[in-house]
Structures are given as structure tokens and as C-alpha cells.
């Protein structure tokens, strides 16, 4: 299992992404209206899908954490790892979207509901991660950040459905029925490749977070700067 995560997953991700992007760039036909510019879809759409999946994982981990009576460091670490990976993917998705927007819409950024709600989502999760850095007590950090994650997740359906509810510049999600199969296949291959890459990032980051948490819980007095720790009030104990 460990070997698969360490070597198998990244290799699988690279293989699938390489295949998907090669198919998208060389095999799929150019879009009738946008031409070759549209091919960034094979990068942009999987990034955004996986960002949404990660935010969903963060939400589920946060809800489960709060429902458990005993603090579960595995769930807390999952939530942290998912939020970080999701923020990374979402930011990359936003940048690729801007690169596509310039030739297609004529601007890098438009105040369209999808873009605006996505930007709000990214700032919300950045705030979530900042909160985690500012709370030393691992118990409080886990509970509070779970609450913030749940409140922030209310925005997720707004991001997803914004293109249907407001019908502005950003196009509505297409269905495989209306798209040329030669475009659907590269997109699917690239999406599975991105999924493998995302899982790889998630697992690696999760293991780091869990190790950090265990170290914190094992040695609470050794952490500097925690005002509730007895060391903060009694520096002579250190010397």
C-alpha cells in the first residue's frame, strides 16, 4: 500500500494526465467557435472538479469530527490536508480560467457570479487555513476550524449552481450527451489523472498533518507560545 501511494499513484497520475492532455491537444477536434483556445479545458475543468471534491472532503471530515465524541486526529488531519490541496487546485484552476478568459471574453477577470463565488470560496478556505495557524491548542483548533469549515461550505453549492442560477458569462456545465465524444474521452482521462494526483497530494499531506498532530498531543508543554501552557507563565521551568 505504501509503495503504491509513493510510486504507483504519481506514476498513474502522470501517465493518465499525459495521455489525457496529449489526446486533448492532438487528437480531439478544435472547438467550432473558440478554436484551439478551448483545449485549456482539459486542464482547467479537471482542476476545478478536483478542487470541489477536496472542499467536499473537507466538509465531510469537519462534520464527522464534530459528531464524534472523542477528538479524532485522523479526521482533523484529513480536513486540513483536503483544504490545502483544494485551495492549491482551485487557485490553479482560477489562473487557467483567467488565461482562457483573456482571448475568449477579452478580459482576465469578469465579475460574473461563477468567478465571484469561486473567489469568495478561495478566500474563505484561505481564512480557514490562517485560523489553523493561529490557534495553538490542537483540540480547540480542530473544533473551531471544523465549525468554520461547515460555515464556509455553505458557499460550495452556490459556486456549483451559480452558472445555472444566474446564466451569465460563464457557460453552464455541459453533459457528455451534447459534447463530441472525441472531446469527452480526453477530458475523462485527464480528470482521472488529476484525481490520482489529487489523492497523492492528499495522502502525503495527510500523513504530515497527522504526524504533526501526534507530536503536538504527545508534548503539549514543549510547544512555545501557548498562553495556556504552564511554561508560558513559569519560564523558570524551562531553564
Amino acid at each position: 500500500m505504501n509503495k503504491f501511494v509513493k510510486f504507483g499513484l504519481p506514476l498513474l497520475a502522470l501517465g493518465l494526465l499525459g495521455a489525457g492532455w496529449w489526446l486533448g491537444l492532438a487528437w480531439a477536434p478544435p472547438d467550432r467557435e473558440m478554436g484551439d483556445v478551448q483545449r485549456i479545458m482539459y486542464v482547467h475543468v479537471p482542476l476545478q472538479w478536483m478542487a470541489m471534491v477536496m472542499m467536499l472532503v473537507n466538509f465531510i471530515a469537519a462534520v464527522t469530527y464534530l459528531l464524534k465524541s472523542q477528538a479524532s486526529w485522523a479526521l482533523d488531519s484529513t480536513a486540513e490536508a483536503a483544504a490545502e490541496v483544494g485551495l492549491l487546485l482551485g487557485t490553479a484552476g482560477m489562473i487557467t480560467g483567467a488565461i482562457w478568459g483573456r482571448p475568449t471574453w477579452g478580459v482576465y477577470w469578469s465579475w460574473d457570479p461563477r468567478l465571484t463565488s469561486e473567489a469568495i470560496m478561495l478566500v474563505t478556505y484561505a481564512g480557514y487555513l490562517v485560523l489553523r495557524r493561529f490557534v495553538e491548542d490542537p483540540d480547540k483548533r480542530a473544533t473551531w476550524s471544523a465549525v468554520v469549515a461547515i460555515i464556509g461550505a455553505i458557499n460550495l453549492p452556490i459556486v456549483w449552481f451559480s452558472v445555472r442560477w444566474w446564466r451569465s458569462l460563464h457557460q453552464v456545465q455541459s453533459s457528455p450527451k451534447t459534447v463530441d465524444p472525441q472531446m469527452v474521452i480526453p477530458l475523462r482521462v485527464a480528470a482521472f489523472g488529476m484525481l490520482a494526483l489529487t489523492l497523492f497530494f492528499l495522502i502525503i499531506r495527510y500523513r504530515q498533518a497527522l504526524a504533526e498532530r501526534r507530536a503536538e498531543v504527545a508534548l503539549p508543554d514543549a510547544l512555545p507560545g501557548d498562553p495556556s501552557s504552564p511554561l508560558a507563565h513559569n519560564p523558570s521551568k524551562v531553564a
Binding site: 478566500v123 465549525v147 468554520v148 455553505i154
Partner: protein, 234 residues
Amino acid sequence: MSTPPRPRPIGLVAATVALLRKDLLIEWRTRARLNAIIFFALATLLMFSFALGPDTKLLEKNAGGYYWLAILFASVLSLGESFRVEAENACLDGVRLAPADARAIFLSKALGNTLLLTALGALIFPVMVALFGVRIATSAGDWALILLLGCLALSAPGTVYAAISSNARARDVLLPLLLFPLVIPALLSAAKATTLVLQGDPMNQLSSWLGLLGGFNLIYWGVGFLLFPRIIED
């Protein structure tokens, strides 16, 4: 010898009223918080006029947005302060030890903040009328409803986040960082609705913005009510 009877738990409403009364009494005796946020909001309104230049048309057109930004900025001060009172002498521990529902703390704090912000909004409105040259085009009742709904919408998530950030490091950075992105829908609908009240509403759009504000309030008052006990537990 018989043991003394255990104190009867206080109901949610009674506890909320008692806590709200306590907070309002503290506020009334010092009047520090209301004074501070009024001057802060007035300064913010003035700053908009300076930053944008004396273009009365522009100021009048965007008055609704500036009005709500002034209230939002002032709300951060007010929300932060509402839990700082409890941090002194570990008062929050005392409140938590009382045989009452922890959710009463959320309700009382959020209602107290709503009252304070509504008072602020009502007090700075005449100043805005004078500074930006606006007038109410539809009805004063509409304006009052928007003010109340908008302040409720800032207070519910704001109280949850103020409780969290008051105990964290860098609390002054954390509260706006968490709160601002979250309240964008409320800020947007309150500002749009206020603009409609000030400039007239020929297309009858006011009700849909009020609906959005109402929905926002339902979600965040509900979520805050459910999750708040987990934040202040030890």
C-alpha cells in the same frame, strides 16, 4: 439533613433575556462601544468622500454601498469587543458554569450586536443624507426593514467568528479575514436594497433582495445556533 435542592435549569429564552440584559446594562453604563463605533462609522463615511473626491453624483449613486461598508467595518469593532468583555476575569467561564443552555450565549450576543448595529445604522443615516445628498425615494419602512435584516445578517456569523477569534492569536486580523468573505451575499443584497430605497424601485426588485437577505439570515442564524455550543466548550 436533607441536601439542598439543585438549582433548576433556566429556559433558553429566560437565559437569553438575562444575558442580553446584562450586556446591554454594561453597554449602557459605559456607552464606550456605541460611541466608538459611531465615530468610526462617521469617519469611514467621510473617508469615502475624500477618497473619491467631491463628486456628489458619484457619492449619491453609491451611497447604499458606502453606508453598508461603514456598518460592516464598525461591526468588526463591535463584534470583537462583545467577547472581550467576557475575556476579562474569565467571565465567560462564569457564564458557562450557569445551569443554562450554551446557545443562550449565542442568541444574547448576536441579538445584542444586532441592536447595537441597528442603532448605529439609524444614527449615521442622517449624516449620510447630509454628506451624500440622498433622500428616501420609496418608504422609510423599507429602509428600516433592510437595516434590521442587514444587521441580523452581519451579527449571526459575526458572533460565531468573534467567539473563535477572541481566543486565538492575532484576533484582530482573524475576525475580518473570516467574516468579510462570508458576508458578501448579505452585504451585496443590503447595499443593493438600500440603493433601491434611495433611488426608487421602478422594476420591483426590492423584494428579491430582501428574500436573499432573509435566506442568508435563516441559514446563518440556524448554523450559528446549532454549532455555537461546540465553540465555547472546553
